[in-house]
């Protein structure tokens, strides 16, 4: 299945792209996609612990099981206000 991933804030600069489509096995978890992205974009690795992960418009845990067409967002800690 295909998962669209969007990077926000300086994660765009670290990844060098603002969005990417990842092909994964059915039943892949958000954590598995995240690990794959850390391999593909090693400059994100230092941000491993502080990275926030969302599916659609909701935060989800690493063990969240993705469905085809899910939109994933990766970003650093938020700083509104």
């Amino acid at each position: 299945m295909n998962i669209r991933v969007t990077f926000y804030s300086y994660f765009k600069e670290l990844a060098g792209v603002s969005a990417v489509t990842v092909a994964t096995a059915d039943g892949a978890t958000l954590g598995e996609v995240f690990e794959r992205l850390l391999k593909d974009y090693p400059r994100l690795e230092p941000m491993r612990k502080s990275t926030l992960l969302a599916v659609g418009v909701d935060y989800q845990p690493r063990d969240y099981v993705l469905k085809d067409g899910d939109e994933v967002a990766l970003f650093p800690p938020v700083q509104g206000g």
């Binding site: 969302a54 418009v57 909701d58 970003f75 938020v78 700083q79 206000g81």
Partner: protein, 135 residues
């Protein structure tokens, strides 16, 4: 049926300056409300030790609106707030301009202050907006 009336919510993300006087002028309060609390967050002239001229705000807009809705739902369960209005700037906000404006209307000041502070604290925890200082 005291809680039959849903808390009114109003959120805008805008690249334009926040017209606070106009927003205050547009206030609506029902006759049982006694407190309006406002917060305006203004861009300061330095970040850490460095002077800056502006902050650029980036927002994941759909998620911003949804996360504010979740925060509002929590506030509505906890305090008798009649309405919340919130405006957040996106794009470049020069020093001395407001990046965030909030209004909370409630019967008494205690709950209005509490809800307003909770809203801002939660926003800074979960609402996907980021800033980049511009020198």
């Amino acid at each position: 049926m005291a809680n039959a009336m849903r808390m009114k919510r109003f959120v805008i993300l805008t690249a334009e300056p926040i017209d606070e006087p106009a927003l205050v002028k547009g206030r609506e309060m029902s006759v049982g409300m006694g407190a309006a609390v406002y917060f305006s967050g203004v861009v300061r002239g330095s970040e850490g030790e460095k002077a800056i001229r502006a902050i650029e705000y980036e927002a994941f807009e759909r998620m911003v609106l949804h996360q504010f809705d979740l925060i509002f739902a929590g506030i509505e369960r906890r305090w008798p707030v009649e309405s919340i209005r919130l405006v957040h700037r996106v794009g470049v906000v020069p020093v001395n301009e407001s990046s965030l404006w909030v209004e909370v209307i409630a019967p008494h000041r205690g709950e209005a202050f509490a809800a307003c502070q909770h809203l801002i604290d939660e926003m800074k925890r979960v609402v996907p907006i980021w800033k980049k200082p511009l020198a």
